[in-house]
Symmetry: C2
Subunit: 426 residues, 2 copies
Amino acid sequence: MAITTSSPADLERYALGLAERARAAARALALATTAAKDTWLGVLADRLRRDADGLLAVNRKDIEAAPAFGVTAAETDRLRLDRQRIEAMAAALEQVRALADPVGECLETVQRPSGLTIDKIRVPLGVVFFIYESRPNVTTDAAALCVKSGNAVILRGGKEAAHTNRALGEVIAAALRETRLPGDAVQLVAVPDHAVIDHLLRLDRHIDLAIPRGGEALIRRVTAAARMPVMKHYQGICHVYVHADADPDMARSIVRNAKCQRPGVCNAAESLLVDRAIAARFLPGMIAELRAAGVEVRGCPETARLAHEVVPATEQDFATEYLDLKMSVRVVDDLNQAVEHIARYGSAHTDAIVTQSTDAAREFTRRVDSAAVMVNASTRLHDGGEFGLGAEIGISTDKFHARGPCGLRELTSYKYVVHGSGQVRG
Amino acid sequence: MAITTSSPADLERYALGLAERARAAARALALATTAAKDTWLGVLADRLRRDADGLLAVNRKDIEAAPAFGVTAAETDRLRLDRQRIEAMAAALEQVRALADPVGECLETVQRPSGLTIDKIRVPLGVVFFIYESRPNVTTDAAALCVKSGNAVILRGGKEAAHTNRALGEVIAAALRETRLPGDAVQLVAVPDHAVIDHLLRLDRHIDLAIPRGGEALIRRVTAAARMPVMKHYQGICHVYVHADADPDMARSIVRNAKCQRPGVCNAAESLLVDRAIAARFLPGMIAELRAAGVEVRGCPETARLAHEVVPATEQDFATEYLDLKMSVRVVDDLNQAVEHIARYGSAHTDAIVTQSTDAAREFTRRVDSAAVMVNASTRLHDGGEFGLGAEIGISTDKFHARGPCGLRELTSYKYVVHGSGQVRG
């Protein structure tokens, strides 16, 4: 850890060493059996439970040092381990163990007139560089998802979790040794210097994918510096659109859930759009209900006319991810205006329509190009677990490679395996 | 074209205008019917044939100006249009028309215990920025593949083809108008200044994918500057490995085809690896045959002992994509050494084994992680057409998103369309 005084050349060598060891480990890990990877997951879960006391003691050092990093009380709470959280981390590993191994799956087989047989086979991406913020469970979750999908991973957690992550790294390494998987399959960046991140982001020869998980500033910095592809999780400016033909009770329940059930996450709703035809009937009760749940409502002029204590919404409100008990509300002419609003202000993450009209649902799902388009369901249901994909390393807001929840399959590529009997090109 | 004296701010505005218009066109094009896109392809093919005289006249201006750009004779030949080449361009459009439209395809449907139905639906990527070098047919091929897959495209061809590309752009625009597809679905960058490319590569809000097609320097420059994902087509350092159990006649035929049939392309073989057990029997005849076909052989010391007129191979030879009638040759101990050699010197493009042993074939295909791994077939068969994928916009050397031949499907993403009956998150 105390290599803060290293020269720039030392840091560059350190980054290159990490990346080269990861590449070598990835080559071996790509050939590891499902049984070997699953055994490792089980051993790691057991070791976490067994080493709980030691982990809690180390975690206290981070908690004590947190104020010096300017960490808020909420962030300190996320950083804190207790027995229940360690048990949850172990259980999450066992859940990944229960998922199907994607590696080696044959995605397609084609027989060509030439006599060639072409199999499209799922393979790991190779080496993943994962840069994240403070919660310790992310360390074990990311290691589990990467290794189960056959990828080596370089983990770079937040400085404020350095002691805890180092201890978790030792437990992970011990489990790799015990199960004879490559020891460099999971490596932690042990140097806090940001220059190491920048060096790693240039090593596209050795690293196949960078995943920044954190605030928008982190993602933008990584995207600008990275030579390899980046899996991005930008903000969710998610909408619920209540269509004229909505069931009002269903609409109220969905809006309340989408806004209030957990307002600080990316698939929580930030904006409510309501058709003019039902606004006078629907909005006063809806807004009273949101206000009773502690939500500050920022509305368009028409919304303000229909309900009490509505803060006038600015243009900026409709483009804001509050991540808080705040909601922007707009009355729209019709489905077309709702779709245009979402295209203009949304972030293509999750958008929902509430309607009993199959025509309106079809038009909305066809025209709204978001990672998930929901009909008569809460935006909060856009989630790897709810979708049945298992644990996720994030929800991609990109359209390239993977979109929406990213689990084991989304951490893979494929190769073509071609069998012939002497075919050449004419 | 003559905006070379524009101010930096003008160029930035010009780039932003291109990107914004492309984004708007992409939204409309994503909803275009297959019939509309296919009609456009047919109309465009007809117009190319009808306007052939005009296109040939314009093309002559580029041919005449070519020496001033320092263009070689071979490059000038690639730049040249004739009636046969225009007919081939039109026929290629009709081939794309015959391919299935990937947009709207349902990739998967999941019924969840919660009652949610989740459809994974193929959608276009959005806006593609395609940067390429001189051959005029690439202009119409790229436009056809992007539009058929529902993507708007911004085309930036080489300066030396400026007149021809502008004329092709006008034909494409006329066909879009005639068939009422968005006129900005295909736009050409009309300003030669490189600053426009750099501006476009920063506009990740409007452009979803950059595809540089050309030399390695171009690809590296685009990758370093781009904020959006880049589909890369790096070099092919392709190997043929002749295993001890190979059929010698088949091996000779495959090596000859892989090296000589078209040496200047990425899936031509650059390196021959031969098992020590058969080297003395196989190599002298093989090398004599290659030399008779005009190939310069650069071999390891053992190769040099077994055959005449072998140039000693340096370390650099094994890491070189000759794209020429040259071949590096190495005698290896066994399959393991062949696989290690390929991992060290190869570019993960296309690698082949020739063997009658199913065990050896299985081991090779499992351990070699290249976009295509061939058993008893020429590396030259790694191609979208040979694989039955139809026309391709390139062969990806990336593992992220698409690998190997990239056709219509590889220019798409997907979205999740979720139908419920009021489900919320508990």
